[in-house]
Amino acid sequence: MKKTTSDIGMNRTGIATSPIDSADITQAALARQPSHLGDESLILKVRQQYALESEGVGSVPPPVSLKGVAKTAVDMLKGSKPTVFIDKLGERAAFERTGVRLYQGALGKLEALGSWEGGPTREGLERILNDELSHFGLVTEALTKLGADPTAVTPSADVVAVASMGIPAVVSDPRMNLRDTLSALLVAELTDNACWEMLIELARGVGHDTLADRFQLALDAEAQHLSMVRGWLSSGVTLEARAAPMPQAEATRPAPLV
């Protein structure tokens, strides 16, 4: 069990680990010419070529209820594209649902490792967990009311899931402690806040003012999540930085860490 993150040890990734070898391979690398002229822009060219041929990651499913079908038809007559709102609601629902799992993971680490002065409390983490769960419920209800299938993975939900793939990986890695986990939660909460803001703007823009008002309450809660997570993380880092350094014997141990 390891509560600290930044101890000195036998890290071998840098060139200073073996100055003679690294000087030798650097010299050899510079002495041999590449087999092809150009630079990294060639990779972008190929990516552009594929982008032109691409048809995206997928689509928003059609409405499931008659009411949804009718609403979609009306919106389309009014000249707006209703699937955008459905797509973004799908994104929010998926993100909030994942958020619950993230806070379950954080609670597990709190139990095993404890907290620190100014660090997360069980009540604090549980409160955020419950908020995420209720936000998931809120967006699911909204989707159902709009005649959409809340279980579908929409294109924006997929994009955000790809973008945040590393967050659950940090939370579930037992080698990464509670503070490391908060770094991942910070990324989640920053995204959460910005995305709720944009969702509210979108809701108002497409005339769903009642939903927008309800979403504003969720955003208020998210703002508190962000400041809590940020505060916990920051106090953890400050505390470790102020703590007495590791004993020398630990720092100069010749064998790899075991």
Binding site: S18, A29, S35, H36, R175, A255
Partner: protein, 401 residues
């Protein structure tokens, strides 16, 4: 510390047991463990996956051996699990890929240096220069896709530079086949080498075929497709060194001896006690499996296993850098290719040769390995570190950004 494989009986098969907790252990550290710890883990995963692959192929074509093969194979599957699960979750597929190529370079170099048969040694040097180029191509991909330094993984042991360019490695299928050793006259070490490198290359192929589709960048997807194709060629090349006239049980005995030798080599190298303990345990397991198979072999064929096995194991594989040897080989043999089973200089091959036609067809829509590394030279800290340095000191305020 020569190991007498006839004296050492290891752990009997019925005592080779596991639990899920035992199988899923704390992985090695990507940051703190030595690159050769990763090399051993990746390499031994390949050796065990070949133990399974070989036994599965045999089971599909032989009735009598099925039960015995199933019993040993089950243990080997767990050995492979425990080893493969030592790879840490913060090590991405591309980082593990860099590790695979470091295996292919350093283990093949060690094998090439010790191989008693000059034709097989030539084959290892030939393949080595191609895998050497792969490290450079994947290194460029790692730098240019993610802004990360491939030497963080290879830890200054291995050169990251152009080998025999991957784009010219594509050959017509029969130009990858080699002449096998002769089971009656070949040195046991020759057989062990050929089986080991075949195993490692086959696993490299399978790994690239598994992780290639996880990449989003089309050049990355193409590069994995291209290098997987070469690993398929390498698998074909190295497996063709094996004498197809060995009996199934003879091959089984040799394969177990090969596994023993490789665990013994890892044990001799490893400094991390947590990992070393695993190599010791599986060395003992493999000795148990070897003796089990020797019994079957002697009973079925009425031959003494001492006819085909060395009394003591040869010197262990050198898990260390081989830069001088690799550079010398690159200098002397970069321009080699093969026609059928013979090595020739590229310049001596007529322009309309089947392998050139084959290669030009594959590269006619562009070459991923050339695209990814266009103008690439490895430098500590990524090519962006060099670019940032050229901007002059930002800290000193001579430039404001």
């Amino acid at each position: 510390m020569a190991l007498d494989i006839f004296q050492e009986k290891g752990v009997p098969l019925d005592r080779q047991v596991f639990t899920w907790k035992d199988l899923v252990r704390r992985p090695y550290s990507k940051l703190d463990d030595d690159a050769f710890t990763r090399v051993c883990v990746i390499y031994m995963n390949g050796i065990l996956s070949d133990a399974l692959r070989t036994k599965h192929a045999m089971s599909r074509m032989n009735r009598e051996l099925r039960e015995q093969l199933a019993i040993i194979r089950r243990v080997e599957q767990f050995e492979q699990t425990l080893i493969n699960w030592l790879n840490p979750p913060d090590q991405t597929p591309l980082e593990t890929t860099l590790g695979f190529e470091q295996v292919a370079i350093e283990v093949t170099a060690s094998v090439a240096l010790r191989e008693p048969d000059p034709y097989l040694a030539q084959t290892y040097r030939f393949g080595l220069l191609e895998d050497f180029d792969h490290l450079y191509r994947y290194g460029a991909l790692y730098d240019r896709l993610e802004g990360k330094d491939p030497n963080n993984i290879t830890q200054s042991y291995t050169d990251i530079l152009v080998g025999r360019p991957t784009s010219v490695e594509h050959r017509y299928p029969v130009d990858d086949l080699r002449r096998p050793y002769d089971r009656r006259t070949a040195h046991p070490l020759t057989k062990i080498h050929a089986m080991s490198i075949t195993a490692a290359e086959n696993q490299t192929h399978d790994y690239y075929m598994t992780v290639g589709p996880f990449f989003s960048d089309p050049v990355a997807r193409q590069l994995y497709a291209e290098i997987a194709a070469i690993e398929e060629q390498h698998t074909s090349m190295y497996e063709s060194l094996l004498d197809p006239d060995e009996t199934l049980l003879e091959r089984c005995v040799l394969h177990e001896a090969m596994q023993v030798y490789n665990f013994y080599s890892c044990l001799a190298y490893e400094k991390n006690p947590r990992i070393k303990e695993i190599w010791q345990r599986f060395l003992d397991y493999e000795l148990g499996q070897l003796h089990h198979v020797i019994q079957l072999f002697q009973k079925a064929e009425g031959r003494d296993a001492a006819e085909i096995l060395p009394k003591t194991l040869p010197e262990p594989i050198g898990f260390k850098e081989h830069r001088e040897f690799v550079r010398k080989t690159l200098n002397e043999e970069e321009d080699l290719t093969s026609i059928g089973t013979d090595y020739v200089r590229l310049a001596e091959v007529p322009r309309d040769h089947r392998s050139f036609v084959y290669r030009d067809q594959l590269n006619s829509d562009g070459s991923p390995s050339e695209t990814v590394a266009a103008g690439y030279q490895w430098i500590p800290g990524t090519e962006l570190a060099a670019r940032a340095a050229r901007m002059g000191s930002v800290y000193e305020g001579k430039k404001v950004h």
